[in-house]
Structure formats: C-alpha cells, structure tokens
C-alpha cells in the first residue's frame, strides 16, 4: 500500500497549518506534492497539549470532570458522561432514573450541536457559505438550552457524579419540544442546499474512500467507520446509561466516501432527535442525584468506560488505587485515531481535497492533543 516517497525533482514539500483555517484547530500537515497531486501527508500534532491525563492524576474524582470538557470542547457533554459513568460503576453509585434520562437527552442534543458545527465548517471549507449560517442558527438554540440547564454554553461541566447539578429549569421541556418539532424542517433546508448540489457532489463523491475492512483495521469509530458500512455503535452494542430503553437506528453508508459520511451524519442528527422525543414523552419525575459519599474512594482496580461520542467511541480507562485520586486516566479519543487515516485517504487526491478530507474526519485538536 505504502509507496516509496522519495523526494525527487518533481516533488515538493509544503506546509499546511498550524494556523490554517480548515484544520479546525492547530494541526500541521506536511504535504509532499507533485504538481497538484498529494503524494504523502504527515500530521504533526501537539500544539494544544495540556496534559489532561496527568492533571487527572493530581485531582480527586470530582475535580477531574471540568477538565474533560476541554478535550473535545465541541462535545463537552458526552465527554463528561464517559468519565462519570466509569466512576459510578467503580464506586457502585446508583443514579436516579430522571437523571439518567436527562443525561441522555442532553448528550443527544450535544450530538446534534456537534454535527451541526461539523456540517457548517465542512461546508464552509468546501465553499458553501450559506449552510454555515443556517447551522449556527440551530446550534445556537441548543447552546441556549445548555446555558439554561448547565450554566455554560461550551465547557458545560454538565453532569456530576451521581446525577445532575440542578433539575430542569422552568420552561425547559417546552423549549426542547419546540426545537425537536422544528428541527426536521431545518435539516430539509440543509439538504436542499447540499445533497443534490452538483458542486457538493463533485467535491465529496469518491473523495477519501476507505473500505470497511480497512476502516476496521485502522480502528476507526463513529461516522467515519459507519460511512463505510459497518454498523458499530457503542450505544447499541454495549448500551450504557439507559440507552437500552430507547429506539433508534444506526445509519450506515455504502461507499465509505466523504459524501456517505455526510449522509450518515445528517441521518444521525435525525435519530438523535428521535431519542430526545422519546425521552420527552416518558421523562419520569423524582430525584436527580443519588447518594454519593463526600470522600469518594473507589475500590482499587481498572475500569474501561466507553461512550459513543459524536465523533466515535470515546473511552476512559480509569485505574484506581483505592485513594481519592485516580492513579491513571487514559483517554481514548476517537479523532486521534481518525486522524491516522489522513495520510491513507489523501494520497492521489488534489490539494483542495485535503481540506475536504480533514473536514470529513471531523477532528477536534483539543481532543487529539489533550
């Protein structure tokens, strides 16, 4: 597969990033190009490294949580959930049903917000400006909901060990209902702008193709894997936090190209909306926080807790030595692994397609560098 890339007379090396608008953060890509054709791409990461894993070793379990919001800052809600579910399992803490339902509702809304941001920026990279504005309009609605419930828009510090910080504010359910009612019409608008648009089709169809077998080999997860036709979704296969109570489909693509991954994400937004609607129908009443000891000392041992984040399987491998602080926390970020296929996907494509391929992988550098 890997061709020898000797820098001969025709090849030149150019630098893309770290301050390139389409890299969605600070990613530096060294491209070896032959005319307009890309021969090789090398990713250089680490510009956003803050040592979140090391920080976790020096904080107790309650204090760690706000830092995980800052890894994948687009999906702060699901990030917190992954760690909290792990700690709750380790310390055998019961979470009331109402809290579980609200958690799922908010993570699904976060998935919609994250996919909207992805669609907005991806379309903008490829040259469709209007979609950007429309997507941000809907994302704003969701961020307003976050602000009302969690008290912050981006780094939400959404959930607490054992449940939630506070119950839903007045008028919240109606606001979510209004959003879910209007949302399908909005998605139709994005599709009207893109799905059949010939420029969009030309720029995305057949670009960055990866077969199912290869996607599995690389360890991809989330939409990049499902776009290749593998129905792998942690929510379905290893349900966590109450997902087994809800009905939803796992959309898959066929060709594994940028266009299919676009369709998968669009469908995922609608499926998330479906889950939110089900929750609104059967939201139970009751307490929102279970019994949590003031000093939390989970039994010594190891635990891996995985959730399906908007970008794929987000795992927290937590090692406890029986003290109040985790001995080690290892985060398995989905996009760190997605980024590994960049070199494989861009070979042979044009420079302009590199932008589309980085966009379709939906990377977040905060999470890759941690």
């Amino acid at each position: 597969m890997i061709e020898p890339t000797i820098l001969d007379a025709k090849e030149i090396e150019i630098n893309m990033g770290p301050q390139h608008p389409s890299t969605h953060g600070v990613l530096r890509v060294k491209l070896k190009i032959d005319g307009e054709k890309v021969r090789q791409a090398e990713c250089i990461i680490g510009y956003l490294h803050r040592g979140v894993e090391k920080i976790s070793e020096n904080r107790n379990y309650f204090k760690c949580i706000p830092y995980y919001d800052r890894t994948d800052y687009i999906a702060a809600v699901s990030n917190g959930l992954g760690f909290i579910l792990g700690v709750e399992k380790m310390a055998e803490i019961q979470v009331p049903e109402r809290a579980q339902y609200i958690r799922i509702m908010m993570t699904e809304l976060n998935r919609i917000a994250s996919h909207l941001l992805w669609l907005a920026t991806h379309a903008l990279d490829i040259g469709a400006m209007t979609v950007f504005l429309y997507c941000f309009r809907e994302r704003e609605e969701i961020l307003k909901l976050f602000e009302a419930l969690f008290g912050a828009r981006l780094t939400t510090h959404a959930f607490r060990i054992g449940g939630l910080w506070k119950d839903l504010p007045p008028g919240f359910v109606e606001a979510v209902k209004k959003f879910t009612d209007e949302f399908p019409a909005r998605v139709d608008e994005y599709e009207q702008l893109l799905t059949k648009n010939r420029i969009w089709l030309d720029r995305t169809r057949g670009i960055g193709v990866i077969s199912a077998a290869e996607a599995i080999e690389y360890g991809l997860s989330g939409p990049p894997l499902r776009g290749s036709g593998v129905p792998y979704d942690v929510r379905k296969l290893r349900p966590y936090g109450g997902y087994e109570n809800f009905e939803f489909d796992v959309p898959v693509g066929k060709n594994g190209d940028t266009y299919d991954r676009y369709l998968v994400r669009i469908e995922e937004m609608l499926q998330s909306r479906r889950i939110v609607e089900q929750i609104l129908q059967k939201l139970p009443s009751g307490p929102i926080r279970g019994k949590v000891p003031r000093v939390l000392k989970p039994a010594a041992g190891e635990y891996y807790s995985a959730v399906e984040g908007p970008r794929g399987e987000l795992g927290y491998y937590i090692v406890s030595d029986g003290s109040t602080q985790p001995f080690r926390v290892r985060i398995r970020p989905p996009t760190f692994i997605s980024l590994q296929v960049l070199d494989r996907l861009v070979r042979g494509h044009l420079i302009a397609d590199v932008v589309a391929i980085i966009g379709t992988l939906d990377i977040v550098l905060g999470e890759i560098d941690r």
């Binding site: 204090k63 706000p66 912050a152 510090h157 910080w165 648009n197």
Partner: protein, 168 residues
C-alpha cells in the same frame, strides 16, 4: 432526459438559491452585542461575587475554606483570623484569580452560606494580568469596568504605556 434537462437548467443550484432568497426577507437574527447586552440564563457562571447579607451588610462568608479546597485550580485563597471574644473564624482577605478559573461552579455549589457566587456578568477582559486577580473589595462591590483609572491605583503601580494612552 429529465435529468439532463435538470442539469442544463441548474435545477439543483437554483433550489439552493431559492432557499437563500426566502431568508432574505426573514427576521434578522443578529444580536447587537455591545449596544444591547444579551440576557443570559439565571444559572450562567460568569464573574464571581462575594455576597453580603442584604440586611446587615456583613459578609455571608464564614471562612470555612471549603471553596478553596474544592477548587480544581486552587485559585481561591481565604484568609481568616479567630475572633478572641467569640472564638469564631472571621474572614479577613479573599482573593479569586479569574485568569485561571474554569468557571466550573464547584465553589458556589459547596458554599454552605451562598457567599461565593458566579454571576451573569461575563465581561472579564482587562488590560493587565494583575487585574485578573480579584481581591475581597472587588468581589463584594463589583468591578467598575469603566473607570480604568481606579483600577490602576488599586491593582498595581506599574502599567504599560498602552494603558496610559487608553486612560488619557
């Protein structure tokens, strides 16, 4: 044939343009931020405030140091001394470093008397790093952002020339 005609007449592109045109006559979503301040949610976690008892004007803080202990960034410093008569702890100083704050809200959650509170005020930009460390006076009385001259006297004696020009 139909597909061919659709291609020739740019039906796919025109469908998109029709949508854009529809929104040209729509309500404008833009918020006029500096002139109109947005209304934030009640729970929003912004600038900190140390609350006083509205009746007596005394501070609500009992100097229990819980907020300082729960803070992930260790940025709160509570200074206290024991009152020799009542044997109670009395708050003397309280500093809050907004430059390092995560705005996670753990401090206001744990405070037994609701003394420390994160408010809806979100404009925290200043011209110097020193100004980002809030002392007790500023936490209690709020921050007079307009009067930069007052800041200069309280926060530090050395300011940049850019700052001088600003205050004129």
């Amino acid at each position: 044939m139909v597909n061919f005609l659709k291609r020739v007449f740019f039906v796919d592109v025109l469908a998109g343009l029709a949508l854009t045109l529809k929104y040209t006559f729509h309500r404008v979503y833009t918020e006029q931020y500096p002139t109109e301040k947005p209304k934030l949610a009640e729970r929003y976690r912004g600038a900190p405030r140390l609350n006083n008892d509205p009746e007596t004007g005394e501070t609500l803080c009992i100097a229990c140091d819980l907020c300082a202990q729960v803070c992930p960034e260790d940025l709160i410093v509570v200074g206290s001394e024991r009152d020799p008569d009542t044997r109670k702890k009395v708050l003397t100083t309280y500093t809050f470093d907004t430059s390092r704050c995560l705005f996670c809200g753990l401090c206001q959650e744990i405070c037994p008397t609701n003394a420390i509170e994160l408010t809806q005020d979100f404009e925290l930009a200043t011209y110097s790093r020193r100004n980002m460390v809030w002392d007790r006076t500023r936490l209690e009385q709020g921050w007079d952002r307009i009067d930069y001259g007052a800041d200069r006297e309280t926060a530090s004696g050395r300011e940049s020339s850019r700052y001088e020009r600003k205050t004129g």
